[in-house]
Amino acid sequence: MNKQCRICCLSLVSLTVVFPVRAELVKSGYEYLTPEMQAMQDDDFGNPGMIVVDQGAALFIQPDGEGKSCGSCHGEDGSKLDTKQLARYPVYNEQLKQPLTLRQRIILCRNTLLNVPALEYADQEALQLEAFVRHLAHGETVDVDVSGPLAPYYRAGETLFRSRYGQVDIACHQCHDYHAGKNFRGQVLTQGQTNGLPAYRFTEGQVAGTHERFTQCLSKLRAEPYAPGSDEYVNLEVYMNARSNGLKIETPAIRY
């Protein structure tokens, strides 16, 4: 083997070490759970998150003053919804010229087409509907396209993900990119993937959607949280969901 060939081989080997295949890097929070917790998530009767999904299912077919409900268009059990499309959220909306998260899509749909009191982003009913609709796409592969008009929002979200916050002065990526799998007291740190959201958390004892989860994180950092549905959280959700591309949707997941 001549010298040039050897250098070439060496650089190829080092390249594969430095840039491993991305799919191997992305790990669902499920893989960091204990076997008991995994069994709990897999059992629809044992999974506490299913309560919120059921509440969402009931809201989905609750008729408004004129007898119309979400189910009137999308099927009583939501079977007319395209699960592949659900896995693509957040998407860019051409009419509004802005990204839409799944929850924003649901709220917009309800508030304009149904004769019901307007839903706010932070409302419990909005979380329940989101959990139900995303659960329909359980097992579908997360597939957020950030190559087109979502690109600037993705970059803005990544900046937030890499900014230090609060009195604790840590950025999201410092724990979730560098320290996944390590123990933070009784908890195991995960990569912070969003494929299981809305998810039930043992430490909070309730189901949280993506924006509620951001608020929990920022509060832990002793930082002033942003508002649910704010531009910052939407951008962060665009980034985080795209970061989870390739993982299977697990809604409602169970996490530490």
Binding site: S163, R164, Y165, G166, Q167, V168, D169, I170, Q174, C175, Y178, H179, K182, N183, F184, R185, G186, L189, L218, S219, R222, A223, E224
Partner: protein
């Protein structure tokens, strides 16, 4: 007669109440920040010239709302379970490092590692981003707390 006395008592109480409240506010107001200087990866002078108490320091290290060192470090605390492992174990730290270096680790670990996940327990407040409103302008631990923790760490030989 009793009624007049009671009325006076009420007046007295109403007058004293806001006074005592403002007195308390003045006591717990924004604590003064003691500037520190790091040289050769160490802060030799105790913050504000304070004397640390290792017994208090040990309690702060275990307290989830204050030091919470256990969240990330294994410590020689047999009575506590689930020690974290984000940072290195700290048993015997004082035989590996001088007190001045230990102090800088607690005050601002980013001087050693810019990508550290250890909170800057006494990092200058103006360096921080979007701190919770009620904590604005305050450090994570007070200068006295820092000195207590440093005094306790110095006993881990």
């Amino acid at each position: 007669m009793i009624q007049t006395r009671l009325a006076w008592l009420v007046v007295l109480l109403l007058w004293a109440l806001p006074l005592s409240e403002s007195a308390r506010a003045a006591e717990s107001g924004p604590p003064s920040y003691f500037a520190w200087k790091a040289e050769n990866f160490a802060i030799e002078e105790p913050l504000g010239g304070m004397v640390g108490d290792p017994v208090r320091g040990r309690a702060i290290a275990a307290d989830q709302m204050r030091g919470n060192c256990l969240a990330c470090h294994q410590l020689p605390f047999v009575e506590e379970k689930f020690h974290g492992n984000l940072g290195p174990p700290l048993a015997g730290i004082a035989s590996r490092q001088q007190v001045g270096m230990i102090r800088l680790h607690v005050v601002d670990q980013s001087r050693f590692n810019p990508e550290t996940v250890m909170p800057g327990f006494y990092r200058p407040a103006q360096q921080l981003n979007r701190v919770e409103k009620k904590l604005e302008g305050k450090t994570f631990l007070s200068a006295q707390d820092i000195e207590d923790v440093v005094a306790w760490l110095a006993t881990l030989k």
